[in-house]
Amino acid sequence: MSLRDAGPPIALVVIFAVFAALSPGFRTIANVQNIFDAAAVLAVVTCGITFVLMMGSIDLSTPGIMGASAITVALLVANNRNDNDLGLVGIGIAVLLAAALGCLSGLALVVLKVPSFMTTLGVSAVGLGVATLMFGGVQPNVTDAMLESWAVDRFLGLAYLTWIAFACVLVGWLVQRYSRLGRYAYAIGGAEEVLALSGVKVKPYKVAVFTMAGAFYGLGGVMVTSQLSAGLVQAGRGYDFAAITAAVVGGTLLIGGRGGILHSAVGVLLVTVLSNGLVQVGVSPYWQGGVQGLIVVVAVAAAVIPQRRRNQVTK
C-alpha cells in the first residue's frame, strides 16, 4: 500500500481514536459491533458502486434498484401478502431482477451512448416505479424465518448480515484482483482507448460491471428487507450518495482508474464511525448533518492531499 493510499485508513484511525477518547459509550465492544452491523448494507452497496466508479462512470440507480429488489424479495419469501414461500430462491430472483436493472443502465450507456449519470437516474426511476406498482398499497411484511434471522442472529458477536457484508467485500476484492472483469473495469478507468487499440471490446465489460453492481444493490435491498422484516419501496433511499461518498472518502476517484474495494470498505467504516460517533458524543441532531458534512469534506481533503491533481476531474 503506497503512501497515497494510506490517507483514509489513517483518517479512520484518528477519527476512531478521537471519538473513543471523547465518549466512553463509543469505545464499548457492543458499540463497535453496532458500528459493524450498521455498516453492513452500505458496505455491500459500495462494493457494487466501486466497480462503476473505477471505470470512471457514476451510478445513481441504487435507490430504484434496491427498492425493486426489496419489494420483490418481500413478496417472494414467506410474507403476509401472498402464499409465496420461495426462501433462498426468492432472494435469488430479487438479486437477478436487480442485476437485470443494472444491465439496463449499462446497455443504455453503451447502446444509446447516454452518460451514466442520466441512464442510471432513469433506471432508478424505473426501479422505483416497478417497486411502487408491486407494492400496491399494502406493506409486504416478511415472515420468512431465515430472512428474519439474518438481521437478528449473531455469530461471533456480529449479525449474519455483517458476515454477508464481509463475504461481499471478499468477493469484490477477488473480482477486482483476479477476474478479467475486475481488471478490465480498472483498465477502462485508466485508459479506455488503449483497451480498444488492443482489440478488447470494452462495451460488454461495461455492461457486465453495471450488471454486477445491480446485483450488489439487489442484495443490499434484500438485507434492508431482512433488517426491517418488510419490503419498502424506500429501502434504498439515500444509499446512492452514501455509497459514492464512502467510496470517494476511501480514495476511489470519480474519474476512474484508482481505488478499489478495500479503499471503499475503509470509506464505509469511516462514514459509519462518523455518524455513530456524533450521536455517542451527543452532538445535537440540529447540527449533525452539517457537522457530518464538514468532517467528510475535511476527511476527503486529507485523503486527496497526496493526489491533488488527479482528483480534479469532476472538479
Binding site: 484482483r177 483476479y178 477476474s179 478479467r180 472483469l181 481488471r183 480498472y186 483498465a187 478507468g189 485508466g190 485508459a191 482507448e193 488503449v194 483497451l195 487499440l197 488492443s198 482489440g199 478488447v200 482508474g257 484508482r258
Partner: protein
C-alpha cells in the same frame, strides 16, 4: 493466397508491400501514392522530413488510417486493414510515437492485453502464467523489468520496452514472422537506452521484419539494412545503407 508476379523475389513474397497509397486530410495530401516494400527479416529504415507522411503511412499499415486509394499486400496477399486488431491478425504491429499502455495495469497485463491466452481461464486471472508469458516477451528483447510492476511506476524507457514486448506478441497470432513497426522509438530515450534498443532491434530481425522510423540519420544508418525516403507523401528513393554516403549532420 495470390502470388503477385511483380514483386515475386527468390524467397517467396515480400513481408509487406504498399502500392500507390493515397491519403487526404482536409487541406493536405498526407500520402500521395506511396510505394513501399518490406522484405522478410530485414530492418527497413523510413526517413523523411517532418510532415513527409511517415506516421500516416505507418498508421495505414496498422489499420488506424483508412487510405483513400492504393493497396496493401501482406506476404503476397492483398488485405484490407480495418483496425489494429485486423493488422495484428495479419502479423503487423506498431509501437506508437505516443505511448499506448494502460498506466494503472501491470506491465504483464499490458503486454498480453487483448490476447491473454492461457493467462486468463474462464475470466479468472492466473497471475503466474501471465507473469511467465510477459517474462518470455521481455526476455526476447533483453529487458529485465518486473512484469508485475504497475506500468506507471516504470521509467519512460522501460515503458517503451513494455510497448515493444507487447507488439512482439502478435507473432502468436500468425504462423509467420511478424512485421514490427517502430515510429521514432528513440526520440524520448537516452543514449544508453538507445543502444539497448538497437541491440534489440538487431535481435528482432531474426524473427521479424522491422520498419524503423527516425529523424536521426546516424541511427537509421546504424541499424537498418535499407532506407526508404519519403517526401511530401511520395517515395523518393530506396537505398541500401552500404551504398549510401554518410552525410554530415548537426552533430
Amino acid at each position: 493466397m495470390t502470388l503477385d508476379p511483380r514483386s515475386a523475389p527468390d524467397a517467396g513474397p515480400n513481408a509487406l508491400e504498399v502500392r500507390g497509397l493515397v491519403k487526404h486530410y482536409p487541406g493536405v495530401k498526407a500520402l500521395d501514392g506511396v510505394d513501399l516494400v518490406v522484405r522478410r527479416n530485414e530492418v527497413l529504415g523510413l526517413a523523411g522530413e517532418n510532415g513527409a507522411g511517415k506516421s500516416t503511412l505507418l498508421k495505414a499499415l496498422v489499420g488506424l488510417v483508412k487510405p483513400d486509394a492504393g493497396e496493401i499486400w501482406v506476404r503476397g496477399e492483398k488485405v484490407e486493414l480495418k483496425s489494429v486488431v485486423d493488422a495484428a491478425n495479419h502479423g503487423i504491429g506498431m509501437v506508437f510515437q505516443e505511448q499506448s499502455l494502460v498506466p494503472n495495469l501491470t506491465a504483464a497485463e499490458n503486454i498480453v492485453l487483448g490476447s491473454e491466452g492461457a493467462g486468463v481461464r474462464r475470466g479468472v486471472y492466473r497471475w503466474d502464467t501471465m507473469r511467465k508469458m510477459a517474462q518470455e516477451q521481455l526476455d526476447k528483447i533483453g529487458s529485465s523489468i518486473d512484469p508485475l510492476a504497475r506500468t506507471d511506476t516504470l521509467s519512460f524507457a522501460d515503458r517503451q520496452m513494455v510497448e515493444i514486448a507487447k507488439v512482439l506478441r502478435i507473432e502468436e497470432r500468425t504462423d509467420h514472422p511478424p512485421v514490427i513497426i517502430l515510429d521514432e522509438p528513440t526520440s524520448v530515450l537516452e543514449s544508453k537506452e538507445i543502444e539497448t534498443l538497437f541491440t534489440q532491434v538487431r535481435r528482432l530481425r531474426e524473427f521479424a521484419s522491422v520498419v524503423f522510423v527516425s529523424h536521426r540519420l546516424d541511427e537509421v544508418l546504424d541499424v537498418c539494412d535499407r532506407v526508404s525516403v519519403l517526401r511530401s507523401g511520395r517515395s523518393v528513393g530506396e537505398v541500401p545503407t552500404e551504398e549510401r554516403p554518410r552525410p554530415s549532420s548537426t552533430r
